[in-house]
Each structure stands twice: as structure tokens, then as C-alpha cells.
Subunit: 204 residues, 4 copies
DNA sequence: TATGAATGAGCTTTCATTCAT
DNA sequence: AATGAATGAAAGCTCATTCAT
């Protein structure tokens, strides 16, 4: 049995270091302004090594995106299985965003700034992921309409926009202002406010 | 008396052509990826002429942003004067976004992608405009809370996020999907849906 | 009979204004760094007009140089006729440089920095003028050697270098330090020191 | 043990190649007219490599100047220590210039054309070096005046101008005419002539 | 004469990527 | 695995020169 805290210098270590460094740098500077040099420096390795683990800057970016989408879609699978009520499903989604923002703010930031709103980086394959995500949320809402759990006089697509827009703006504002999440309480308050307004409206 | 439909080749013509071309190109490629060559080609003029009218690429961008902010802040002034009820103020704001999207989709797109969500391009002076805009919306909502026109158990900042996030997502999705607005009806339906959900909630 | 102080806006006026402005600007920035725009601005005219009076930037420069060389060669003709003794001829030359520095410091500056030591600007035709000037000084000194007015154990070319080098450094240092000439006295003291050392040596 | 005549391709090789190439090109075209392309071509390397070793064109130029000033000031330190008599100090200085002209004509040329007489390139820090050099020569001459080794009826500043002017013109004329120095004899004859005239005068 | 809009070649600098070691 | 020297295609900006008015 290997020692638990051994220094492991296997392939994964460096690859992960580069991945994490890339997230930090791309978060800070944006994809196009992030230089391979910056990423290597942040990772504490030489820049030639980046090309040992990743084919190109673009591929490195795609790996980062895949990481995000995998997590998100996995979460959505879980939601569908674990929850019945639309409120719970959406609450789980909001909480996932807030959790991720707490644990991996760089990844969330990149999703928000480089994908969610950047037409620049949205190559068709990337756009596909994004639309697929929206479709899944729309499905939740249109099912909810069928069960009369959500008003039916507004297109489900519109409801999706409103809901995701609110989530995104919350997260992205925290991201842009470097607003830290202070513990579980604040997360619940934010999620609560958001869902309350979405379901019950801003009117008192 | 000069002929009515004469081709006027005054200074403004070319300057406007460059401005418009820049909007189109920046919309398509993003600010950093937009090359002066592209802009010149799009405007049908030579390379160097861009620098005859604009000091630098950055200044050209700032002029574009100023154009957007001037319009938006002017609109908000007008809102404050013309409308009393919070619903009307917010409806006017939504309609302004939709109107602008119809008339100058490039400008709206640039606002959404390069300002609203791009930390990369947000130099401090630019950030100031953005925060000032959010503050004004927050003011509307916090006044509404004081008059009991809007629920008081959610921070006005949060209400701002939810509202603007919904607006932005609507517009930006249209932008990303090149979704055309089909006439006044659709604009009203969208604005109506958005305000209904925001004020009354998604619940039936 | 035209009025004596009439405002004459003839060809010469503008041409001279451009010429003078060019001297000032080229003095300040050097030939290659001087822009046509700078010259036009300095002359108070539009830059297109420069091309009305001068074929190109290079030709304008050549006209300036011609002005200098014409004056200098005319002076040397006069020297040869008016003075017999080598001391007088050289004194006249030194005084001409100092006079010109007082009257047209820009022209002297340009001669020093752009011609006398700049291989960059020395196209073959320009170099010809410069060598011809050195040859004339050398002729003076070699004649003086023949008459035993100057030591013969040093090549006349070397004597030329020493003499002109001393003159140039005096003038160019004044030029570089913007050292003003204060009246006739100082000119005579400088000329005196220079000729004393040249003829009698630095030894007491 | 490595082979004695192996091709060493260490960092210094290319850096030196670029340095030398830059000297040649700047000598030929002047600093402002020297293009990075020229330098790279002359050095037989690619374009971008210049920027691998030097931060910018300006810094490359500054490194070249530093090389010159370091050598010159070191030589002047040595002079002060090794020689007492003013003749010997100045002779050593002249010989240093001639030596350098033989060994590194480009460097001497650059000093003469880009520094000694070019107000264009003289940024304040560069000017400081130049003035400091003149001050040191002036110090030598004013000490000599105190010891009655040099005439006191001429300002030491003027003596400095005359001496350095003569040296410069000698060197720069050789430089401008691509005059080669033919061995030790010629150097001594030149130095001898120069010092003889400077100390004893041109009169027989 | 006089203006300044218009052109485009040319320059410095950056940086993703390759490759010898 | 690891390094960083080497490459060269872009990109932003400048400016001499031309030309329509």
C-alpha cells in the first residue's frame, strides 16, 4: 500500500496543475488574452510542457469546458431522478451553481464570461452544449406547465430565459465583483430569494 | 439650393460608416478579435482612414460604448420623469432594450457581450458606467419597496439582479441565436411575459 | 509704386515660411523624425501645401542644405579674395560659423547634426559637398605649409581634421546645450581661444 | 571533457550575434532607420528571436551604449591611475579611441553619430553619460592648468571642446570615409600629430 | 492656391507553436 | 518528461504622398 500523502509526480499531477492554472488565468484575462506563458508560469512549469499535455490552447480550453458541462449535465441527471417537484429541481440547480461558485469559482466564471455570453468563443460545437442545457431547463418547465405547477400563459422558452437569466446575473455579479459566498446561510438566502421571486413574483 | 437627394460626402459620412462597420465587426468577433483591417474592409474604406477619424482602436470602442450609455441614461431620465409606477418604469426599460435590439442590434449585442459580462474589457471607467446603471435600477426598486409596490423581504440588489438578468438573457439569447423581432406584437408579448413573471411569479 | 509695408502674400512668403518651419522642426527632431504635419503646423499652413512648394520631404531637405552650402562656399570665396594670411582666413571661417549660429541657429544645427556627422543622411551627392568643403580647408592649410606659415610635419589633412573638429565641437556643444551667444565680445573670445590654441598650442 | 573546437550554441552566442548585427546595422542606417528585420537578417536569425534576447529596440540600443560607456569609463579610470602627466593621459585617451576604432569600428561609429552629435537620440539619461564624459576630460585639463602644464588663459571647457573635437573629427572622418587604420604605425602617427598640434600649435 | 480626406506600405511588437536537446 | 530557444504570421499604428474639391 502506497503512503497516503506521498508526493506523486505522475502524469495526472502536472496535467491537473496546468488545468487549474489555465482556469485561473483564463478567468482573470479571458481566453484570448490568456497567454500560454501565463498559464505555464501560474502552474510553475515551462511553457513547452503545456504542449506535452495539451495539443493546443484551443484544446486546453475545450477540456476546461468539458469539465464544466460534464459536471452540470451529471447534476441535471441526478435532479431528474431525485426530485419530482419543479421547485426542488430548480432549487437543486441554483444550489449547484452556488456550490460550484464556492468550490471552483474559476470554472463558473469561465462558464459565465466565456460561454454563456460570449459569441466570440461560441464555435458551433460549443453552442450545441449550451443549447442543449437550455433545452433541458425548458423541458423541466414545460413539464411543470403540463402539471399546472407553473403558469402556462408564458412560453416555456421565455420562462427558461427569465429563470436562467436571474441565476446567471446573480452568479456573474458575484463573479465580477469578487463577492465571496459566506457559508451555507448566504447560499440559502440567495437561492431562497431567487426562487421566491421566480415563483411568487416581486409583488408583495 | 442643393439637390435634395445629393450624395453628401461630408465628414460625418465616413465617420459614421466606420462607426457602423466597427459595431458589426465587434459584434461578430468581439473587441479583441476585431481587427482594424476587418473594420476598414467592412466600411469599404482604406486602413489608415480609421485612424484619421479615431485615435485608436480603444478610443473607437469607447465612442461606441458612449453611444450606448448616452442613449440608455437618457432613456432612464425620461422614465423617471414620465412614469410613476414601478411597473411602468420597468416596462419602459424592457421596451427600450427591445426597441434598440430591433433598431441597432449590434450596439445591444456589444453591450451584452463586451460590457455586461466581459470582465476582460471592463476597465475601471467602463465599470463605473455599468455600476451606475445597476444603481439606478436598484433605486427604482428600493423606492418601490418603500411604497409597498414590491416585496420588501428580498434585498433590492437581489431584485435588480433578477430583473436585469431576465432582461439580459432574453436579449442576449435573441442576439446569440440571431433571433429577429417580428414587429410590435412580439415585443409586447415578450415584455408582457417578462413583467408578468417578474411581478406575479411563475406560479399560476 | 507699391506700398512699402504691404502684406505680400506672394509665392515667396509661404515658401519661406515652410522653409523656416522645416528648419526649426528638423533641428528639434532630426530629419527622419520630422513629420510633414509638424512642419506644416509650425508654418501655420495645411500639410497639403507643403507639396505645392516642395516636391517631397527629401527635396525640402536638399533645399535647406543647398542654402547652407551656398552661404558657406560664398563665404570661402570671399575669404580667399579678401585675406592673404592663413590666420585671417581661418578666423574669418570661425567667425562665419559663429555669426551664422547667432543668425540662423537652426541651419547651423542641421548642418552639424544631420550632415557633418550623420552617415545616415549622407547620400553620395550630399557627401560630395561635404568633402569639397574639407578639401577647400585643406587647400588653405597646405598652401600655408608651402609658405611656412604652418608646420609641415603634420599632414594637411590631419590639420584640417583638428581645426574643423575644434570648430564643430564648439558650435555643436553650444547647439546641443542651447548655449546662447552673448554679443560680439563672446564671439571674439571664442574665436580667439580657438585660433590661439590651434596655432600656438595648449602649452603655456 | 568537451571537444576544444566544438560549436558552442549557448545563450551567449545568439545574443552576441544579435548585438553585433545590431551594431553593424545601426552603424549603417542609424538607430531610427535600422529595422528589426535588418538586424535579424544580418544576424542570420529569425525575426522574433531578437525579442527573445532584448526587450525592445530601444533596450537593445541602450545595451550597445552601455557597452561603449563601460569601456570608455573603465579606460579613464585606468588613465587616472596609471599616468600623471596630462600629455600621457590624453595620449592614452586618443589611443583608446583609435584602438577601439580598429577593433570595434561599429561601436565607435555609433558613439560618434548617434550620441556625440545626435540631439535626436539624446534622451536625458543618455545625455548624462555624455556630459559626465566631457566633465572628466575637463577635469584633466583644469588640473593641468593648476600645475601650469597647460595654458591658463583659455577656459578649460574650451580646451576640452578643442581636444575632443579634434579627436572626434579624426575618428568620425575615418568612420565616414571607411578609412582603415593600417597597423600600429599609423595609429601612432595620428595620435602624435593630434597631440603635437594640440600642445604645441599648428605654427612651425 | 489651399485644404485635408484618403491611401497603403512599412514598422515594432506579441505570441501560439515547433523542435532540438 | 521537461526545457526554452527559435520561428514567423499577425496586429496596431504611423506617415509620406496623392488627389478631389
Amino acid at each position: 500500500m502506497p503512503p497516503i500523502n506521498r508526493q506523486s509526480h505522475g502524469r495526472k499531477d502536472k496535467e491537473t496543475a496546468i488545468f487549474d492554472a489555465a482556469c485561473r488565468v483564463i478567468r482573470k484575462k479571458g481566453f484570448h488574452q490568456a497567454r500560454i506563458t501565463d498559464i505555464a508560469q501560474e502552474a510553475g512549469i515551462s511553457y513547452g510542457l503545456v504542449y506535452h499535455y495539451f495539443k493546443s490552447k484551443t484544446q486546453l480550453f475545450d477540456v476546461i469546458l468539458a469539465e464544466w458541462w460534464n459536471g452540470l449535465f451529471a447534476q441535471m441527471e441526478a435532479c431528474d431522478e431525485n426530485y419530482q417537484r419543479v421547485e426542488d429541481k430548480l432549487r437543486a440547480l441554483v444550489e449547484y451553481f452556488l456550490d460550484q461558485y464556492e468550490k471552483r469559482p474559476d470554472l463558473v466564471h469561465i462558464f459565465i464570461t466565456e460561454i454563456s455570453r460570449s459569441s466570440t468563443n461560441l464555435t458551433p460545437p460549443r453552442l450545441k452544449f449550451f443549447k442543449s442545457f437550455m433545452d433541458r431547463v425548458e423541458m423541466i418547465l414545460s413539464s411543470a406547465q403540463a402539471e399546472n405547477a407553473v403558469r402556462a400563459d408564458v412560453k416555456p422558452r421565455y420562462l427558461t430565459y427569465i429563470f436562467l437569466g436571474a441565476v446567471e446575473t446573480f452568479v456573474s455579479t458575484m463573479v465580477l465583483e469578487n463577492h465571496p459566498l459566506r457559508g451555507k446561510n448566504q447560499k440559502q438566502r440567495i437561492a431562497g430569494s431567487l426562487l421566491t421571486v421566480f415563483f411568487n413574483g416581486a409583488r408583495p
